[in-house]
Subunit: 378 residues, 2 copies
């Protein structure tokens, strides 16, 4: 095991009062773990869509400029006044970024629980993972099966628990099948594997034929391409076949959310026995969990009165099911991290590599099929 340095590198995001984003690599003190803490040398941390809000602060990254040195790059980008107004709470604080990651425990506090983790590879959800070292409470560590690498364990929380949370929400709210948009994403492929493993009917919505092919090659039965002229009819057929009355939407803006509800209504009415003046009594629910399209959500309300749309986040779901169930879900992820919940990456970058304009332009697009892994100690 290497010597632990006094200071180490950490990626930070700062929003200035003047409306500028500064991304930089800071040297921060490496803490001594207290009794119930461990120090993790971070091996790998993914760049998830849910990291980009904190990282970019809503700045216009197409106008980003690079300065600094290769070892200490600085990226600056302008933030528009209305966006800046909403960020008042973070102005002037240089924030560490990175929701999740994995690494090896290189130092531990005196408690037996902490000592037991020495040398183990653990996954963490705790923020500031784009750092060379993270000191956390033992209870934050998800211990990975022996032989699992940090890269294999880097994405144990956000995508796996989100996929489990979607299926869990579906069950909690009395639905038996679900719809997912942007379904060829890393998360979407994982949800497809999970639904196949658990026998949950899933309707995948994509917008390109190669994405449909990819999901079908992974066993998906229902894939609808929103770019096809037959999309609404195809989706309605898939909804009749599966009975899906809940959808999870990564896109948010535009008309797709309303179209899904319309097709659910059409599917409900296709099997209805009598006319109901307020539309079908089947409750149709759609949760927006992402914002790939930041534009307005436009609902053409032709789906009766039994419907709901709302925001969905992982943390409130975990609070809703309670700590015991949340722990069961985490244990399942650890056990299946190289199978059901395996992630794949298209690029690996160091902390400084994550701050090149080329890399930012690439992972900032959130394009399906492109997924970055930060390796802070590589």
């Amino acid at each position: 095991m290497a010597t632990i340095p006094d200071t180490a590198a950490q990626l930070q995001s700062l929003v200035t009062a003047e409306g500028e984003l500064h991304l930089s690599i800071a040297q921060v003190a490496v803490p001594q773990p207290k009794e119930d803490q461990v120090l993790v040398q971070v091996g790998a941390a993914p760049i998830n869509p849910s990291d980009l809000g904190l990282l970019f602060g809503g700045a216009d990254m197409t106008a980003a400029v690079a300065s600094g040195t290769p070892d200490s790059p600085i990226v600056r980008a302008p933030i528009s006044p209305p966006v800046l107004a909403a960020l008042a709470g973070r102005v002037g604080q240089s924030l560490a970024v990175g929701n999740e990651g994995a690494g090896v425990v290189v130092a531990a506090g005196s408690s037996p629980a902490a000592q037991a983790l020495l040398g183990r590879t653990v996954a963490l959800l705790g923020g500031a993972m784009y750092s060379q070292y993270r000191c956390v409470h033992v209870s934050q560590c998800l211990v990975l099966p022996e032989g699992t690498t940090a890269e294999e364990g880097a994405s144990c929380f956000v995508n796996p628990l989100t996929a489990l949370g979607m299926v869990g929400t579906m069950r909690l709210e009395g639905h038996t099948a679900l719809v997912h948009t942007a379904a060829a994403s890393n998360l979407g492929q994982m949800l497809n594997k999970l639904c196949l493993a658990d026998g949950v009917p899933l309707v995948n919505i994509v917008r390109k034929s190669e994405q449909a092919e990819l999901l079908r090659s992974q066993g998906a039965e229902h894939v609808c391409n929103s770019s096809e002229p037959t999309f609404m009819a195809d989706l309605t057929d898939a909804l009749v076949a599966t009975g899906a009355t809940i959808a999870f939407d990564a896109i948010g803006g535009g008309r797709l959310a309303g179209q899904i509800l319309s097709c659910m209504e059409a599917a409900a009415n296709a099997t209805a026995k009598e006319y109901s003046r307020y539309g079908s009594t089947t409750h149709k629910q759609l949760y927006i969990y992402g914002g790939l399209d930041r534009g307005p959500t436009e609902l053409v309300r032709n789906f009766g009165m039994a419907w709901g749309i709302g925001g969905w986040l992982l943390m409130p779901f975990l609070q809703r099911v309670g700590p015991e169930e949340a722990e069961h879900l985490r244990e399942r992820v650890a056990a299946e991290i190289t199978t059901t919940f395996a992630s794949s990456y298209t690029a690996r970058v160091s902390l400084t590599g994550a701050l090149t304009l080329d890399a930012i332009a690439d992972y900032g697009r959130q394009a399906t099929g492109s997924k970055y892994l930060v390796t802070p100690n590589a």
Copy 2:
């Protein structure tokens, strides 16, 4: 008590397979009440916004043409193909209309419960109230206090129970104050009286200054005019003052629903202590219960992730609270029908009078301050 005829008049609405709406007055048999039934001579039945869907069948009433005779008028209006497609379940059936009304029990079945209602004025929610006679089960009758007229009791259900349902939903879902749009409507004025009586903070949204004046003259404390340039700031102030985090929206289309959520978020953040990257954790809920604007609902999603929008209807609310609580609510309405739950009307029409093009154009506008009462036996 007058002799009961064998047949009597009933307003009916028919959608033809060719896409035409036919409104007419049919002569239908007057039934003999069975053991637990009573026959009610309908004295008065309101035309509520919730009656217009069944009545008009989505037809273009601006293109309506009148024919028939003064005693037997027929109104025809075209229905566009997409609307017609959604009406498949009712094509070819001449449907009776009128959700609620009140009248005198003029005949009763043999059971003591039925006999006890002879001569009483009762309110009914049962459809087909634009009829001279309605035969219903005794359990459908809400017996009004002695001395109450049919006109006073005509609107016992839709508006009073909707107002009670809004306050009830607010409580069930953990909110302590509420927002209402189109707040100077008959329903809105009733909700204002109810909230004042029950000490529930209410934020009224109107779009004209005279509507604001009307509500203020009736004791409303918080009235925001969406036509004012300061609307968003005014609304945010009222939301901070009341803590309202649930809204009931009669309008549906356009940007107002999203603006309410935005102002709720601004109000939540005005009192928040730290920056949260996903917006405030305060759940913000908006229910669309009407469709004064049938256009798309446009949500500019600048209100974080803790939000929900959905359809709201009275009947699912009553099912949700259960029969015992629903009965309590009905009894309260009967007891306060000339005070808290009193309605006022701007026009009274006979069954044939309801089918003149002038009347249709007037009540079809659903204009605030205009409210029709049908008096089938006048």
